[in-house]
Amino acid sequence: MTNVSTIAETPGTTASTVAGAPRRRRRSNRLSPLLVAFVLVPFAVESIWVFWPALQGFWFSLTRWDGQTPPEFIGVDNYVELAGDATFRGALLNTVIWLVLFGGLSVVGGFGMALLLQKERRGVGFYRAALFTPVVFSLVVTALVWRVFYQPDGVADQILRTIGLEHLIRPWLADPQTALYAVILPALWRQIGYVMVLFLAGLKAIDPALHEAARMDGANGWQRLWYVTVPQLKGVNAVVLSVIVIDSLRSFDIVWSLTKGGPYHSSELLSTYMYSAAFQSLRLGYASAIAVVIFVLALAVILGYLVRAFREEA
């Protein structure tokens, strides 16, 4: 858990620094005490609340620990077990599906909505607000609403029945074929609004003169989108990617409140598996090993992108 929240905070900030702030200002030889304080105080706080628990997480992943008796060192046994654990493999696969579907669709959807709603027209504020509203709700509340939607003879079933598709009706959250996708939908519903706002901010920052010039040169709408808008959004893309990857890997609340990873692990993500290993099976060492895997995954994806972004800018 700590690992996830660690990465949730730090890379986001790094990314936005890369994106926006001027980097080329040389600092003077003497550091101002205020600057030192600004660096050291948060560093001290982070050390206690973030780095230290994260390091402890690494240590716990090498132990067998039930949370009540002292941890017992067992080397890499937890990782060996992970390699042979079918549930873990299923959770890993589901997390990848989640990353691709949830991440991909929220970028596509969010970007599409941002393009649609970027022009100031009458009533556009209403649509923007409507799309952003789901972000305001807590995910647990969202889950409650969607559960009513999915329940037997609930709204989803009624809609299908009205349009004559009752043969498709199934226990959405209890059917292993549909459970994962039935959970992705509410998560997307929320995330699209969030990504839309990020892209809207990016679109606003594009100099209209660029579009003007492109139009003068005879570029059509698609060309302007592809050669002007998208490259100009590079900074926002880094932020969006970090947000998406982090949100995918830490997606927990919505899954837990809708299916708890069930039925029989079919909608299990790494995060829910970690939670149930830790707090239901009371195998905190094993759960820490899963947490380390999540941490490494997130780091790999984000570092991969950042390194590329740096190289292009350099």
């Binding site: 009540q68 549930t87 807590s138 209890a174 708890k260 149930s276 707090f279 195998r283």
Partner: protein
């Protein structure tokens, strides 16, 4: 979010305690002093905190009423801190291992209590038991840990059975089945009338399926085998366990297909509305039932499969254990003595939904035909079991949930499912 909640409540609870402590910062000190000089009496010691998972409205009122009555006795003060059951379950180890834990906990007797006792987390309440001479030996054994000391004080128990509406059974022209063959016949009749015969609620509450496993196992293989299996002394891939699922498979077509998707509370609603025929559930389900439906409810015991196997019933026993680190062990024990008394248990039965049985042999249960029938069933049973998680551990329960929900979906994969179950159970037993 939900995980954070109890911490906050605990924090608020402690603030409340601190407020009580404002009577004098030295109150704790004086408690220590007085317990050193002599038996701690009222006045000197701080309030005893009861960490309670009784969150359904009636049960919550009942336990709060008991605390209130105890406070009037002048033997100490008690305060109740109610926490949602699922949160309570996951946080219990944290409560018990924290530096300044609540004193008393509502929880289960048997292997769960034993497990905590073996780690030295529970208060030895043997001297409370010295005053409980009227209690049957079976309850004392249930409350005794591996080292031979009592760590638990029971207050109530309840039973499981097939509940149904009398008016509906009359309408459909069926009688309570006694044997497995009768049971199959009833299922067939209901199905032919277009009623899903067996209700269940596995969405969000998958542990309800364990009742089926427990009962089939104690009916086919007997309670001793069941206990050994749950203690890790037998294997889940044993042919005897396979026989349990094979038998279960015979009735799978009679289960309500919607039961997979909704929790047991909604399965209760379906039963009361006549949308399912009968429902294997513990009496706690009645907390979610409207009062006017209660009079129409009846139940029958899980049908007998092999008459040669001594009849066992599930009778989960609820009660209290205390933290070994309680700041006020004397007051805690005083409160436990009160909970074990006839008047406390009768008061509890009166204020709660009423379909619970007091464990004190002299305490009167609620005066209703349903309760008398349940009481008689438990008294006639040769053996009592608790429930899957209570006879094993909360850590083993998820393995059962996975295996059993998968079995109900894919009954043709029994062998593979049992192999997986054994593998995941081994991990739990290994720690």
């Amino acid at each position: 979010m939900t995980d954070f909640d109890p911490g906050r409540r605990r924090f608020l609870g402690n603030l409340g305690l601190a407020g009580l402590g404002a009577l004098g910062a030295g109150s704790l000190l004086s408690a220590c002093a007085s317990s050193a000089s002599g038996p701690a009496k009222s006045g000197g010691s701080g309030a005893v905190t009861i960490q309670s998972n009784l969150s359904s409205p009636q049960a919550k009122t009942a336990i709060e009423k008991l605390a209130e009555n105890f406070n009037k006795l002048g033997k100490g003060t008690a305060s109740v801190n109610t926490i949602a059951s699922e949160t309570f379950r996951t946080q219990l180890p944290t409560y018990l291992t924290s530096a300044n834990p609540p004193d008393l906990y509502t929880w289960y007797a048997g292997s769960v209590a034993n497990d905590y006792a073996s780690k030295g987390l529970l208060l030895d309440v043997s001297d409370v038991w010295q005053g409980l001479g009227e209690y049957p030996q079976s309850l004392k054994t249930l409350s005794t840990d591996a080292a031979g000391k009592q760590v638990f004080v029971p207050m109530t128990n309840y039973w499981w059975g097939f509940f149904y509406r009398k008016s509906n059974f009359a309408k459909w022209g069926v009688q309570e089945p006694k044997t497995w063959a009768d049971f199959l016949a009833v299922c067939e009749t209901l199905k032919s009338k277009g009623i899903p015969p067996i209700g269940i609620g596995l969405g969000d509450t998958p542990w309800v399926a364990s009742a089926w496993f427990d009962y089939l196992n104690i009916r086919i293989n007997g309670a001793p085998f069941h206990r050994e299996l749950l203690a890790g002394k037998q294997r889940f891939d044993d042919p005897k366990v396979k026989a349990v699922l094979t038998r279960w498979r015979e009735v799978l077509p009679y289960f309500d297909p919607k039961g997979k998707a909704y929790p047991f509370q909604e399965a209760t609603t379906a039963l009361l509305a006549g949308k399912t025929g009968m429902f294997l559930i513990g009496t706690f389900f009645a907390d979610a039932a409207p009062k006017d439906a209660l009079g129409d409810l009846d139940f029958f015991r899980f049908p007998i499969i092999d008459p040669a196997v001594p009849v066992a019933e599930e009778a989960p026993t609820d009660g209290f254990f205390a933290s070994a680190k309680s700041a006020n062990p004397a007051g805690t024990k005083e409160l436990l003595r009160y909970f074990a008394s006839v008047e406390a248990q009768e008061e509890y039965v009166k204020s709660s939904s009423g379909i619970v049985l007091p464990v004190h042999p002299k305490a009167k249960a609620a005066d209703s035909p349903l309760v008398s029938k349940g009481k008689a069933m438990l008294e006639s049973a040769a053996e009592l079991t608790q429930f899957f998680n209570r006879d094993s551990s909360d850590a083993l329960q998820p393995t059962a949930d996975t295996a059993l929900t998968k079995f109900m979906d894919k009954p043709d994969q029994i062998d593979a499912i049992l192999r997986e179950w054994q593998a995941s159970a081994e991990k739990v037993f290994k720690g």
